[in-house]
Structure formats: C-alpha cells, structure tokens
Amino acid sequence: MKKVRPFSPNTADAPWLKSCLIAFAVLVVLVIVVLPFASVIVQAFSEGPSIYLTLLRSSDMQVAVLLSLKLAAIAVPLNAIFGILLVWGMTHTQLPCRRFIMALLDLPFSVSPVVVGLLFIMLLGKNAPLGGWLEEHGVQVIFAFPGLLLATIFVTLPFVARELLPLMEGQYRQEEEAARLLGAGWWRIFLKITLPEIKWGLLFSIILSLARALGEYGAVAVVSGNIRGKTNTLPLHIEALFNDYELTAANAAATLLALLGVITLTVRIVAELKKKRDSNEH
C-alpha cells in the first residue's frame, strides 16, 4: 500500500540533493572566483610582506590611491543623492515614460566601458565642439580629474536608483498620506517614513557602487591619459606596475583593492545582521 504523508508536505530537499548542491556551489565559487584571487595573493607574497611597505611608500601609488578614493567619494554620493531624488519623484508622480527612464538607467550597466570612454572623448575631447570651447577657456576635462570623474559617475549611475526603485514603489503610501494629512512636510515624511524603510537598500547599493567606482578600469583608461602620479587611478597604476616588470608590486596593489572588497563585504554582512535584528524588533 502507498504511504500517505498528509501533514508533512515535502518542501525540503532530500539530504543527498542538499549535500550535492552545496558541494557544487562551493566548487563553482572555488574555481571561478577563489582561484584567481588566490593566485593574486600568492604572487603578491612571493617576495615577502615587505613589498607592501615599499609599495605604500611610493608617491605614485599614494597619488593613485588618493585619486581613486576621491573619485569614489564624489561620484558615489552624487549618484546617491540624485538617485534618491529621481526615484522619489518617480514613485510620487504618474509618469508616462517610466520604461524609458528605466532603460536609460540600465544603459550604463550594459554599455561597454570602452564605449563610455569614447562617448566622453567625442563630447569633451579637444576636437569636439563643446570640448574645444572648454579648452579655449582653459578648462581641461578629458585627461584630467573632471573627465575621470564623469566616467566614474557614468558607470556607477544606476546602482542606487535601481536598488531603491522597487523598495520605494507603492510602499508605505498610507502612512505617508496620513502624515501629510497631519501636516508633515515632504522632508519630514522622507526622513521619518521613507528613509527608515530604504536605509539598508541604500547602504548596500552605496557599497556596491563604491566597489565599482574604485575598480573601474575600461572607461577610465580611455579618458585618463595615464600620467603617473597625476591621472593614474589605482587600477591604472596596477596595470602600469605590471608593465614595469613590477609583477609582485602589481599583485600586492591588487590585493589592496581586493581587501577593500572584503571590507565592503564585511560591512554588508554586519548590516544584514542588523537589518534582521531590526525587523525582529518590529
């Protein structure tokens, strides 16, 4: 006779399947992600840890690190502020061309970084009308900080807005309406109702865009001009070190960037734990 199990619906996977899947996942991550990293780390330490001291003492390296940090420190908050404004506006008005805006926001994800660099050269390069005009007035955009900044902004543009859009969509409208009836201003509503709701999403997206801003290579390479100690960002400096036969130093610098990745990931894990605690308290 067939055994009936009416009250224990089988929504859990069989233990063997579970083990297999876990093993598979670990293997995939190991081969695709961990091994390349491990090779970088092994190379970096092939001459002992003193390479880090030498590296950090080099002025070109310091400039590169500072430049990358500055780019991220300006681009990411700008994108966050304008992203919040945009999404707030989109979710509080009825706009006919929403799909178009969404496609626009997705574009920086899907455009090749090389094309991004090319676009800015065509707009602001010396031989473009606008670029030529700026040049005449003594403003250098391409091959200088503003160009690097524009490229960084472009590639990190969608992160915050795309993450917040689903979070802010249609949520907490009743609370907002109530608050408005009670006479609360937009700013107050944003601070008291919207922000608490989106803060974790906002934090994650900021962390992701930070990582992307610091690591961007393709777009920045096209508009940088590669002046060492001036317009070389950290990724570009790593490439320069590699080309200078400083293989160990290049790998060591790369581990610094990877370390940054680890830091952002740690922040993320901590934030996730906190978020869980937050929602448990409610």
């Binding site: 996942a25 090319l118 065509m122 990931l265």
Partner: protein, 269 residues
C-alpha cells in the same frame, strides 16, 4: 495604485533627477549620434562590412551568449544554495560572490592569465589533457564567466529568499514530487529574475574589455573582440570606424534591454 500627489515637490525632484541622468547618459550619446550623422551613411556601412568586424561581432556576441548561459546554469543552484540552506561557511561563499565585482577588470585579466596561462595552476592541468585556454576564445569565455557570475546570483537570490512557501507546500500536499514542484512552481516564479540575470551577464560580457584583452590572443578574426577593435581603431586614428562600432554596440544594448523588458512584461501577465 494611489492617486498622484498634486504637489510640486515630487515633480521637482523628478525633474532634477532626470536632468542629472540625461546630462550624464543622454548628452554624450547625443554627441556620438551627431558626430556620426555628419558621416555619409555609405562610409559607416563600409567600415562595418569587413570580415574582421563581422567575426569580432560573432565572437563577442556568441561567446557572451554562451558565458551568460553557463552563468545562468551555474548561478541558479548557487543562488538556491545560498538562499535556502544553512551550512558552515555560507556567509563566506555569499560574500565571495561579489568579489569579481570589486576587482578591477584589468587585475582580473592578469589574475586569470596567471591561472590559465601555460604556467598557471589550471593552465598546466588543462595542458595535460591537450586543451589551451589562455590566448584562445576559451580564455575569453573564462573571463566572461568570471565577470558575469555575480549578476545572475544577485538577481535570483533575493527572489528565492522572498518566495512564497505556501505554493510549494500546496504542491507538495497535492502529492507532487519535488522535481515537479520545482519545474512547475519554482522555476516559473524565478524565470523573470533568471532572464534579468542572464541579460545582465550577457551585456557585461559583450562590453567587457579589461579582463578579456589580457587573456584573449587578440588575433584578428580569431580572438579579437569588438571593444578591442574599437580601441584599436581609435588608436589608429580611424574615428569613423570606432564611432560606427560604438553606435552598433549602443544600439545592440538598447534593443536588448527593450527585448528583455518586453519578455518580462509578457511573463508577468
């Protein structure tokens, strides 16, 4: 849906946000369009119609399609494991998924080169079975696999986490096997996310430059990708050619986004 607010503030913020996005995204594209509009159409077609260009497009699109497919197949179980199971080290694996994202692509290229090159750990292993990865199209595939993986996992994982258990339970109560429930209940729910992840991995693969140029052989008609062709044309003063290729890449991105959007809408219905 609630009624629109008749206040000025949201319109204002929308306006500001939209202006910003347009300034950053649309204006440069318009610049490209305007510059290319001054070039006779014939010249544009001419610069695209060569075996070298066509094989570069085939290579870029074909390989990133393959890589995105592979990433979807690998990413789904990965996302499932991370979302559903608890096991020691889960958080670490979860965190590692984002690593390809934070490593500069050039460094990724150098790292992959070291790994799959003739003296690398995996390179020697593959060499023994007579397969060369670095400096062949297979190397390009490996690089695309590396940069695309987080996209699939990160779009699918939250959907699995937030999935409604009751449907699964109902299915199971009605006597459906786990496999049947997966195929009929879980997979359809995940399909839009899978599609998004696939398309993002695909788009990233098509445009990827930094990691690919290091590991690809860059031989015309064999292992030369479109972004490299753009760079090499730009560097040999062939402005029209570089612009034409960029235009095609941009259009391709646009069309793809549109298609995905439409597919998703149809699935949602």
């Amino acid at each position: 849906m609630s009624s629109p607010d008749n206040s000025l503030t949201p319109h204002l913020t929308l306006g500001i946000g939209l202006t910003y996005v347009c300034l950053i995204v649309l204006v440069p594209m318009a610049a490209l369009a305007i510059r290319m509009a001054t070039v006779p159409f014939h010249d544009i077609v001419e610069s695209l119609n060569s075996v070298r260009v066509i094989s570069a497009f085939k290579l870029s699109f074909g390989l990133s399609l393959l890589a995105a497919l592979a990433n979807t197949l690998l990413g789904l179980p990965l996302a499932w494991v991370l979302a559903r199971y608890t096991f020691p080290g889960r958080k670490v694996i979860d965190a590692l998924i984002d690593m390809p994202f934070s490593l500069p692509t050039a460094v990724a290229g150098i790292a992959l080169c070291g790994l799959y090159g003739p003296e690398g750990w995996l390179g020697t292993a593959f060499e023994r079975i007579g397969v060369q990865i670095a400096y062949t199209p297979a190397g390009i595939f490996v690089a695309m696999l590396f940069v695309g993986l987080p996209f699939v996992v990160r779009t699918v994982q939250p959907i699995i986490t937030n999935m409604d258990f009751s449907l699964e339970e109902t299915g199971a109560c009605l006597g459906a096997s786990r496999w049947y429930v997966f195929r009929r209940v879980i997979l359809p729910t995940l399909r839009p996310a899978l599609l998004t992840g696939f398309s993002m991995a695909f788009a990233r693969g098509v445009g990827e430059y930094g990691s690919v140029v290091f590991i690809a052989g860059n031989i015309p008609e064999v292992s030369e990708i479109v972004p490299l062709l753009i760079v090499s044309r730009l560097e040999s003063y062939d402005f029209t050619g570089a612009g034409a290729l960029s235009l095609v890449m941009l259009l391709a991105s646009f069309v793809m986004l549109l298609l995905i959007n439409m597919l998703q809408r149809r699935m949602a219905q």
